[in-house]
């Protein structure tokens, strides 16, 4: 961050712009840049090795960020930065940070290609609605997976039978209880110092972040999330979250989710919007990390060809031009207990590892149903480590991802949502059921036969 008070000043004193005009200008500017720079989505190259196009995406993202700035929809004022400010923000952004405490701390890196480190694997179920009775066992299923480096929580949807509502008092209670249970899960797994990523998942507002800014809940070694509103917008609620992290201070991460087919246009435009969002949130929010989540206009999953390509080209763009700690969401259409989720998991793990990204974990069924478990997170991590150790190239990765995509693409229109946690895990022992393990083993053998060299 250059100076957060300067961000706040610009949010109040910047040029006035109507939201509709901002949206249309974004579309025109992005379309023009896509054409001028020759950025094109190739559906046969989901994991890209195209350095020239990656550089064009970075250049286009920079020009888009400079032209548009970030619109505060609370004040309808533009928060604009000049190029020297954006470059300075990139320079001072952390390139490596130790997340968590003691022996459980793990490095989160601004990844580059072939620097000798695999991604940092986040495990958990972001966005997933969880009831009180399953919250702790679900989180324990992730905490028990040794290959998971950091953890992210699901969302607690009810307290004592009452719905948790946006901006309501129970958001405070839900976020605090969420943190207590995640920390208990970590302690029971013997990993009390593990970093909790995007703490306060049970709240959509600044209330949750404020409620947990206390060592009893979110430690300064944990992080919380500050979304960029689509596209390239913010508001006082988001800026209040920044203020909380600024003074507390915990680690912070952005969340940027350009709509593929939205105001940025198609995949090429969405890539530029994503790159611009990373640049602007680095300068305006001063976040330590970024969560990438391009959204297909019809299918929310990140496992579509278009969304995986957007992540891949943006990962490559930043790895080559301005490495930052980027974590890509890995939201799947399918749910736990199905082969489909494991095919999607494998494709996303391969694509992200070979695009210099870290992961912000799986969101099974796009975070709609509580059909998630630690086993698919284990599989994600195993694929990441295998791909890293065998030094898989982007071209090899792309061939594999295309094969995997063919196996699960039918699920976009006819999703196999699978089963809830309580039906795929023994909830007393917190271990997968034999049936779910058998499916996992079968798919793992299949993926191994495709060329992924697992360690065990």
């Amino acid at each position: 961050m250059i100076n957060f008070f300067e961000t706040l000043r610009r949010a109040e004193e910047g040029s006035y712009q109507k939201e509709n005009d901002f949206d249309m200008k974004l579309f025109q500017t992005t379309s023009s840049l896509v054409k001028e720079l020759g950025v094109k989505f190739n559906k046969e190259e989901i994991v890209t090795a195209d350095d020239q196009m990656a550089d064009a995406v970075f250049a286009g993202g920079m020009r888009l960020a400079l032209e548009m700035g970030m619109l505060s929809v609370s004040t309808m004022r533009l928060i604009k930065f000049d190029e020297s400010e954006l470059r300075l923000a990139l320079k001072i952004a952390p390139k490596e940070m130790l997340l968590g405490q003691g022996k459980d701390a793990r490095s989160m890196r601004a990844r580059t290609f072939n620097n000798g480190f695999p991604m940092t694997v986040c495990g958990g179920c972001p966005g997933t609605p969880l009831e009180e009775d399953v919250f702790l066992p679900v989180m324990m299923s992730y905490a028990k997976e040794p290959l998971i480096d950091i953890i992210i929580s699901g969302s607690l949807t009810r307290i004592e039978g009452m719905d948790v509502r946006t901006s309501g008092p129970l958001e405070i209670r839900a976020c605090r209880q969420e943190m207590l249970w995640v920390r208990e899960a970590l302690e029971r797994a013997g990993r009390p110092g593990m970093h909790i990523y995007a703490s306060g998942e049970s709240s959509a507002t600044e209330l949750g972040t404020l409620a947990i800014a206390n060592e009893h809940y979110m430690r300064t070694s944990d992080s919380h999330m500050i979304p960029v509103l689509s596209e390239l917008k913010t508001d006082n609620a988001r800026l209040s979250r920044v203020m909380t992290g600024y003074e507390y201070p915990a680690f912070t991460t952005s969340l940027i989710n350009p709509i593929i087919g939205g105001f940025g246009g198609g995949p090429a435009g969405a890539a530029l919007v994503l790159a611009a969002g990373i640049l602007l949130s680095t300068a305006a929010y001063g976040v330590d990390m970024h969560c990438l989540h391009p959204i297909h206009n019809k299918y929310i999953s990140v496992s579509t060809r278009e969304a995986m390509w957007v992540d891949s080209i943006v990962g490559r763009a930043f790895a080559r031009n301005a490495p930052l700690a980027l974590l890509a969401d890995a939201w799947t259409t399918a749910g736990a207990g199905t082969p489909d989720i494991l095919y999607e998991t494998a494709a996303l793990a391969i694509a992200q590892e070979c695009s210099a990204l870290n992961t912000d974990s799986l969101g099974a069924t796009n975070g709609v149903y509580p059909n998630c478990s630690g086993l698919e997170a284990r599989f994600f991590a195993e694929v990441v480590h295998a791909v890293f150790n065998q030094k898989m190239t982007p071209t090899q990765a792309n061939d594999l991802v295309l094969k995997l995509f063919a196996k699960y693409q039918g699920g976009f229109d006819n999703p196999n949502y699978g089963l809830p946690f309580t039906e795929v895990y023994d909830t007393r022992k917190i271990v997968p059921t034999q049936k779910w393990l058998d499916i996992y083993k079968k798919v793992k053998d299949e993926v191994a036969a495709m060329g992924v060299q697992f360690q065990n």
Binding site: T166, S203, A204, S230, G262, N297
Partner: protein
């Protein structure tokens, strides 16, 4: 994607202008059709088929949200030109129904609702878009004011879903439940939830929303 062909050259040009999202040309052609005393209802049909093709292209990622919104603008501008002539000739194209649409209280996400609004307009519905973060009583008051047939509720946030239940309950408490069909869509919404609150329909996406609402209004 269905591409339409017309025997009449002007109608074909109007359809093509809509599909190409050429606003100036489309409006100029509609004015020309009026001057030539062309069949007004056929002009409306050419425009409607054109905007439906744009909707199909959007679904296929061949055009994007701003273009979909521009197509809706062409439709509105053209109808403003055609309406006086239709009234003079006592013609009616009818509508598919009136829909009040809103994002639930606490939810500030606009884009999905924007898509649904334009797609519904393209299918002949009159849509009153109330915006985001709208309280249940305001939604109901507006539905009454606009004499809506359908209330469309959208949410991307799980924590805003309880306000959908509130809306249904409040409709019941005010003795208005039978006045409106209530449908829901958005990333956080599931068919099970819609059923649990006794809403009338679940819409996976905008295209399905059109089908669901049409079926509800036709009583199928």
């Amino acid at each position: 994607m269905q591409v339409h062909k017309f025997d009449n050259k002007t109608l074909q040009e109007i359809y093509d202008a809509m599909v190409e999202i050429d606003s100036d040309k489309a409006v100029m052609l509609v004015e020309k059709a009026l001057q030539n005393n062309d069949d007004v209802l056929q002009v409306v049909e050419a425009l409607s088929k054109g905007i439906n093709t744009v909707g199909d292209k959007f679904e296929a990622l061949e055009c994007f949200l701003p273009e979909l919104m521009m197509a809706a603008g062409i439709m509105n501008d053209s109808m403003a030109l055609l309406r006086p002539e239709m009234e003079r000739k006592d013609l009616s194209v009818g509508t598919s129904g009136k829909v009040v649409i809103a994002n639930l209280q606490g939810d500030i996400h606009d884009i999905g609702r924007n898509i649904a609004t334009v797609m519904l307009q393209a299918s002949g519905f009159i849509v009153y878009d109330l915006g985001h973060d709208i309280k249940p009583d305001v939604i109901i008051d507006k539905a009454l004011e606009y004499k809506a047939d359908v209330i469309g509720l959208s949410s991307l946030l799980t924590t805003s879903l309880p306000f959908a239940r509130d809306t249904i309950n409040l409709l019941g408490e005010r003795g208005l439940r039978e006045h409106f069909k209530v449908v829901m869509g958005g990333a956080a919404v599931t068919p099970d939830f819609v059923q649990s609150i006794h809403a009338d329909g679940y819409c996976k996406d905008a295209a399905q929303g059109i089908k669901v609402i049409s079926q509800l209004l036709s009583g199928k």
